[in-house]
Symmetry: C2
Subunit: 407 residues, 2 copies
């Protein structure tokens, strides 16, 4: 198999981007990646777009073809990949296989979603819920946040953990997001609290009190509150992949994708042996470690899929960084901070960077690219050489893990 | 690059399949392909689903993950590929690259769409039209049939061709479809006429008169009439791909995918130099021929994307079977019949087999698999050794061509 390198990346700001269409966002991230990679448009063989709901949210199909024309990559082949909120990771895998097989030399992968223009209450949540099982789950009114709440309660009970530890994950991720100029929320939770105090909304002694106040942090899916859940965001992220043999023709310090794993689990959550364990992630991350000949202890930085903060706790366990039941406590103890034992979500994660569905899996790899090259600015982890992601599709029924390292 | 073989196929009947959901259709085709390929479920690494509009038509996302669970392929990786009406061909390419790269040994590719349950007038046409350019085309009310009409008129004028020759393509495809037990319409146009005569709807001397009668064959997009346009269908088709080195462990006569090409063209049709020429197809088919070290004269059977009958005429020219302007005449002269110089659409094509969008690109390859193995029954072409497809995405702005041959 040919080795595959990342030679350039692009990343729009994530957030409420009123002026931009989905195609604009994809174009902006792509053109930045093309520019950063010192490539010329005519060299590209193929383009993979990761997006979950362009039809449902933006009333467009064939957007990968539209993108190729808009950014002057004609006649490059192009396809859209959909794997729920893991569409970005799946697009990277498709691009990786295009290069690894020898079918392509130079591939653009871009993930994006445009969501915040939708004002119909519940529309986005109901469309995202179309990944749940129609007869066993959706018909009963289940939504993704409700699964997040159920997982949180199960975890807290099973491991005698505290909800405050889950909140500590959010506090960390907002702290990191405050250092990320592309994040949706570039503010710590302390900052949110201080603003609320100034506006006369309350007077809290500390963040813990603030986060327990129903008025500023309402319960969304018991026990999860607003600050335990990622926002709805617009945005896009892009990477340029090439045959590693020629990577140094384009950039001095390419990053290698040395491992990719992907696995599925039962569609119906009730059918899983253990709700607090992500079997698909265990398999996917094992595949990625094996392919890269690495172990969890070799990893220097990690980007996880904290659509709900409980997920970061469970994922860092199932990827081998902590024993089962110790992921939330690890965050509480500061082990996952930027200067901790294993820095998790230095980008701010989905909680603070934001979660434009199809963009997330690509944005995770973009963050690792910057981290491994020492280009992550104020949120830079100390000299990382390897990084890994978890991109979470469905509610854990289709998970990717991508391992990258310096060339 | 590793060689990739097809070792088994599945194909539901195409048509109005009221009892079946999209997931049912995908499952039915997949299980048939699994059975035919003598594989066991636990051997599969990955699954690619080609479907254009599961969100818009069926209110589901993540259907590839749902499929993997339903047919017991857990924990195989899975993704959905969307490339408009060429989603099936793109799914095959993704599966091909998974095997060719060495990331997978055994891959299921299935394409499908469930459309006929939608009763809202214009809903399907408007959703398919989301592949057109939003500002330059769609806003003006353009639909795919209107482009089909425009292309037909341009072709007839440019090449001094006759609309009757375009009708001859439909007559041939219905004749072939009558021999295909999976076709949506298993009836010749003569048969439609005779039924109409029996029902007292008219008394026509010949098919030509019948096809010119506005009451039984109304104009849809001038000059195209009902019988120049494919139906809206439900259905699915599947293939099992594997590393060619181990293909004979599963089946005696595997078929090799020896060439795949894919190319894009301008999104806005007006920007193309020549509307009667499919530049993306010229590039895609050239890539496929080159990869397989074949020329048009080496091809024994061909499946084209006749969503509108004019497309078969243009495609068979741009793939090198006839000179420009001679494709429609070739059909009129019988050169594309099952026993003709180059048999085109022995399956009945989109016109008679039907066109469940995402299924079509896979169904084309399934038909070639059967033809090359001598399993095509009454519509069998005489001893074909090589075959090629055109799967048409957008309105010609993203086209795939897949070349297969005996191992």
């Amino acid at each position: 198999m040919r080795k595959v390198a990342i030679i350039g990346v692009g990343h729009t700001k994530f957030g409420v981007l009123e002026e931009k269409s989905l195609l604009d966002l994809l174009s902006d991230a792509s053109l930045e990646a093309l520019d950063e990679s010192n490539t010329t448009q005519s060299e590209f063989d193929s383009v993979y777009v990761g997006a979950m709901c362009p039809g449902e949210f933006n009333n467009v199909s064939g957007i990968s073809s539209a993108l190729v024309d808009k950014i002057s990559l004609l006649p490059a082949a192009s396809d859209r990949i959909e794997n729920g909120p893991a569409s970005g990771g799946s697009a990277i895998k498709a691009g990786f296989q295009a290069v690894a097989s020898g079918m392509s030399e130079l591939v653009l992968v871009v993930g994006g979603e445009k969501m915040t223009h939708i004002k119909t209450p519940g529309y986005i949540t109901s469309k995202v819920a179309t990944i749940t099982h129609p007869e066993a789950e959706r018909i009963h009114g289940v939504s993704l946040p409700s699964f997040g709440g159920m997982l949180t309660r199960s975890y807290l009970e099973k491991y005698d953990a505290k909800l405050e530890w889950i909140s500590d994950i959010a506090i960390k991720n907002h702290k990191n997001g405050a250092l990320n100029p592309n994040a949706h929320f570039q503010r710590s939770i302390e900052d949110f609290m201080e603003s609320a105090i100034k506006k006369g909304k309350g007077n809290w002694k500390n963040v813990s009190e603030f986060l327990n106040d129903d008025n500023v942090n309402p319960i969304i899916a018991d026990p999860l509150r607003l600050f335990h859940i990622c926002p709805i965001s617009d945005g896009a992220a892009a990477i340029v992949l090439c045959n590693a043999d020629i990577a140094k023709n384009y950039c001095d310090s390419p990053i290698i994708i040395s491992g990719i794993g992907q696995a599925t689990d039962t569609h119906i959550i009730y059918e899983r042996a253990e709700i607090t364990e992500l079997k698909a992630l265990k398999i996917a991350s094992s595949q990625a470690y094996k392919m890269a000949k690495k172990k969890p202890k070799d990893i220097d930085v990690c980007e996880l899929h904290d659509a709900f903060e409980i997920l970061e706790a469970v994922q860092c366990e199932d990827m081998g960084f902590f024993k089962k039941g110790e992921g939330a406590k690890a965050a509480h103890e500061g082990l996952t901070q930027i200067d901790g034992q294993i820095p998790i979500n230095p980008s701010g994660g989905l909680k603070a960077r934001g979660h434009p569905l199809g963009a997330t899996g690509v944005a995770q790899v973009v963050e690792l690219f910057w981290q491994l090259r020492g280009e992550a600015g104020k949120r830079q982890v100390d000299d990382p050489k390897t990084g890994i992601t978890c991109n979470f599709g469905g509610f854990g029924n289709n998970i990717l893990s991508i391992l990258v390292e310096r060339m």
